[in-house]
Symmetry: C2
Amino acid sequence: MKAIGCHIIAEFSHCNPETLTDLNLIKDIMVKAALEAKAEIKETAFHRFTPQGVSGVVVIAESHLAIHTWPELGYAAIDIYTCGETTDPWAACRFVADHLEAQDLSISEVKRGMSNSRGYFSHAFSKTHITGGLKVVQSA
Amino acid sequence: MKAIGCHIIAEFSHCNPETLTDLNLIKDIMVKAALEAKAEIKETAFHRFTPQGVSGVVVIAESHLAIHTWPELGYAAIDIYTCGETTDPWAACRFVADHLEAQDLSISEVKRGMSNSRGYFSHAFSKTHITGGLKVVQSA
């Protein structure tokens, strides 16, 4: 079955906590990550929490990128979801991991919108839980 | 391992195509779904495509809700991601399925941000691919 979208779900551990708490920096990283994926940006919505943490989403013509950060834990939850043949969600994933200085990465790829002949859409996961930092993502 | 967040990934098939193409209605459904989940809304970002289709995200204090629609296929891809003990992402899922008149639902729950003693965060899936409409979600 052919999928309409590719959705990367990632937990990044041992990130730079100063980066994770900086709204403008996080927004800049996510917007540039969307461009790295060759996506077309439509809308952005970011919010900084008190005392810390940032949540934000970049709506793209090809779906969305999202981030939620827990600076006190060095942890960020990332979603990179793109549709179509022209985008590269893994390029965005590498870019975000690099700029958050993530040391450990737990990543799964979800094929979204796999259809059968009756017009029923489903999804499928391929899981890649890995420790070891950036090099793993770069060779994915 | 305890998880920080619960992320419902859903593909809804055989939805009402008129609803799927109406930006204001989709936004209204997603905002109300966030409230159904007892989430606190922080930001919204929605976009309507030409000739059809809507993408949008509701950033909540507890993470985000997202939707992407393909009216011509009767298909919508939904993400409902909440953190904390006070929210009910399944209530939001039921609300969206109900208001899109989704007949077939493919749903998985992802536990996000499961940590071990070394501060390494990962995730885990429980998959529930089901045909049969709303009653399945309501009994989940």
